[in-house]
């Protein structure tokens, strides 16, 4: 039995400890919003927040989330209403086919929370999202939406991420995700 906090509520699952968090969320917790794009931590479609940090849930065995807080796209709204970030994604055309959108939103939510009301620069947003692949938008509208949400949030005095809470202790999954993202960034630099 593995217990964790999922989108603000306590959750217990009886699954093999090495089952991927991605599959536990989709199959055992009936939250199919988190998507699988590659299964190897490259595309970021399966991104979720683990104790406030973005991780690729396809790389995290569920045993690693014992006692942790997990936030998925389903937990990003504000009491049933879309957050400023979600609203900006709709209004500015940042979601096209929508398959990368959950992961993008989760990653952007972490960025906005860390920005604490400051509007991150275009480069900062691009760097933060470099581990999330999108094939539809060319990224411009996603970057614009994240910054617009930050501007809106700085006006409202709150980040548009109710589900994302204060940063927790570092966990193995987080480190792995960071590695993966760094690798991706490096790779993209390497290849031009």
């Amino acid at each position: 039995m593995i217990e964790f906090v999922l989108n603000g509520r306590g959750r217990r699952v009886r699954v093999p400890p090495m089952k991927r968090l991605l599959d536990v969320l989709r199959e055992d917790c009936s939250l199919p919003g988190t998507k699988e794009g590659c299964g190897e931590g490259e595309c970021g479609a399966c991104s979720v927040l683990l104790d406030g940090r973005t991780v690729c849930s396809c790389l995290v065995p569920v045993v690693q989330v014992r006692g942790a807080r997990v936030v998925t796209v389903e937990g990003l709204d504000r009491g049933g209403r879309p957050s400023a970030l979600q609203r900006a994604f709709i209004d500015l055309g940042a979601a096209q086919c929508g398959i990368c959108t959950p992961g993008m939103l989760v990653t952007a939510a972490e960025l906005l929370r860390h920005a604490r009301g400051r509007v991150p620069s275009e480069e900062e947003v691009r760097e933060a999202l470099a581990g999330n692949l999108c094939r539809c938008t060319g990224y411009q509208k996603i970057v614009d939406a994240v910054r617009a949400a930050a501007r809106g949030a700085s006006r409202d005095g709150a980040a548009g991420t109710s589900g994302a809470r204060a940063p927790g202790r570092s966990r193995a999954g987080t480190a792995r995700a960071k590695r993966s993202r760094t690798a991706r960034t490096k790779r993209s630099r390497r290849r031009g």
């Binding site: 998507k35 190897e40 990003l76 994604f89 055309g93 096209q96 691009r126 290849r191």
Partner: protein, 806 residues
Amino acid sequence: MARRARLPRASRTVLRPPASVGRSVPRLEGLDKVTGRALYVDDLRVPGVLHGRTVRSTIARGRIKRVRLDPAFDWSGVVVADHRDIPGENLVALIEDDQPLLAAEEIHHAEEPILLLAHEDPERVEAATRAVRIEYEPLEPVLTIEDSLARKAPLYRDDNVFKNILIERGDVERGLAGSDLVIEGEYRCGHQEQLYIENNGMIAERTPDGGLLVRGSLQCPYYVHKALVRAFALPPDKVRIVQTVTGGGFGGKEEYPSMIGGHAALLAWKSGRPVKIVYDRLEDIAATTKRHPAAIKLRTGVRRDGTLVANAIDIVMDGGAYVTLSPVVLSRGAIHAAGPYRCPNVSIRARAVATNTPPNGAFRGFGAPQTQFAVECHMDRIAAALGLDPLELRRRNAYRLGDVTPTGQVLRESVGALEALETAARRARWAERRARHERENRDNEARERPAGLGGAAAGRRRGETSRNGAGPRANGRRLRRGIGLALAYHGAGFTGSGEVKLGSIAALDLSHDGRPRILSASTEIGQGTTTMFAQLVAETLGVPADFVAVETPDTGLVPDSGPTVASRTCMVVGGLLEKCARAMRERLELFAERPIRDARDFQRIARRFLAERGPLRFERGYEKPPEIEWDDDRYRGDAYGVFSYGCCVVEVEVDLDTGETRVLRTIATADIGKAIHPILAAGQIEGGTVQGLGYGLLEEVRWKDGRVWNHQLTNYIIPTSMDASPIEVVIVELPYSRGPFGAKGVGELPMDAPAPAIVAAIAHATGARIDEIPVTPERLLEGLRDGARRDGSRSSPGSRRGGKRS
């Protein structure tokens, strides 16, 4: 961002809701997509579902000697199906009936499906695939265009050519002979993977009436329908295909879903259980279609002032192992091969050849990105040979109203080539940036020479440059910057007589609650079909877009409005819907004996109509505009109703030591007639542009013995948010009289220009003109080593300007 359409002042005063067309209303399914509620095929829960897997050929060519199921494996509960289980014909019906649903004996390419397995437990079925033993009698495969043309082995008829096209205008040989200068060039582009982030997937089940229901991620429900009717020998009304929310397509879900749908259906047919086949990324990249590789030669005669006189073009595309869509891909490629430039003498010879590789297929642009990559690189080579600015060369030759294309099509209206070009150049500050990069590159070069001695002065000078923000910061790196541009055009709708043959039908009816409901098979795959359709209908009916219902593409409910491809959805199908809406409005206003005021009024009238007169439905079919004529046999006439035009300007920074290219800035302009939804249209342009950047710079499918070895996102690289630069989009609107509200096509156009623009920018930065994409660091370093020599060898003696780089 795109120009934001403003409401004309007058329309604010009339008694009707704000206009829909031209406004960026929130996309209708947007909320579902940002909350995780949108259900894609893999998200559907189907009770009792089996998980299907495909066992594929590991060799590229040969015969199957024996298929054996390892007796050591526990096969209980595993459903096994092969070609003998197919109730109808063993084929994936498309253009020619040459591709089997499952290989029976002969193997024509690696990853060819041979056997299907299904089990309740995905892990068990995965294990089962490893317990299948297939013995082959391998034959030497033909894996390249050259080997196919040399007939290394007979693959298709007697010449290995799937399709031959010849387009001729004027007298090319005479034109070349009479030119001041003849420039030759040869260009190559490799495969490109569509790489939608949602992998392919389908769920099939038998229906109680003895038919099939297949749901999944797809672009063209009636393609799958047609294929399954043949493969299962069922009457058309017993096969029902339903699109689920689709996570990107880009052409990659045009024809291949017929294969997967057929496989899932066969397992369901045999087992009597619902069967889900969802590919993982490895299988999707390895087995499904890609953009056709191409080798293109141009021989172009020009006058000294840059006027094009004659253009002889030879195109060969690699079709892969089966015909699939290659003839039409080739056709579009050939028609666009001379670029958006007037030229009195043109000959275009195009061939698609067979190889033992997985069939290549539809990918945004459909042949045109390959041929326009070639012609645009060639235009830059011509400009260099003449000592002309590449912008000026294009300006002198770009299509104007009344010009004639190689097929003899007269461009009667909506010709935005020059507007797209000039707008992009202005926005990019072309001349200024070009001069600045050249100056800074010269300075950097001069500075690097003493810097090699490690002088402190050199370091200080570098520091100064950085502080001023001018020029690439050195930090010991040898960087060069450059700017390049490319102009392209793209025909909207099916080629030639395609739309007539399709005879698309779209419909509009009243839902039971008195709302207009759109019925079409055109799919929402991210590009915004749903919202854009609703806007066209809403505008005509005088209601808001979110008042319009859009029915799911379901062959049991909607008429065949044709495939969602070819930049045709807005212009062709949207046009039909606009007509339906006009008829509905007339009918309801006649019934009410007064104009419709707003949505509530509409609903009131509609409900009364439904109660008193019964259902109301309007259907409109494609009608060929009388001025369009096309001769299939001679390849003459109006290849498309109209063309869209686009220009891309790219600035790059190249590291001379590592061969890396970084895109600094991208400008894309597009004349699309009318942006129905400016944000969605700009989204198409931005997304297509970045796919084009990937095509030009990063994306390379690597092969080993006919199999893709980089079938992972780890090693097949698509642009990340850091590879893509900020993009500025300018939409140019030269309306097309036959399009709804003046709209032309937008989907594919943005794919055409970025790759040659990058090549041009790299050439401007470094002097190395690379004729093959993607321009990987390896390829660029090689080009840097012998760049000048290669450049010179292909143009006529005396044509080069001494020392001129670019």
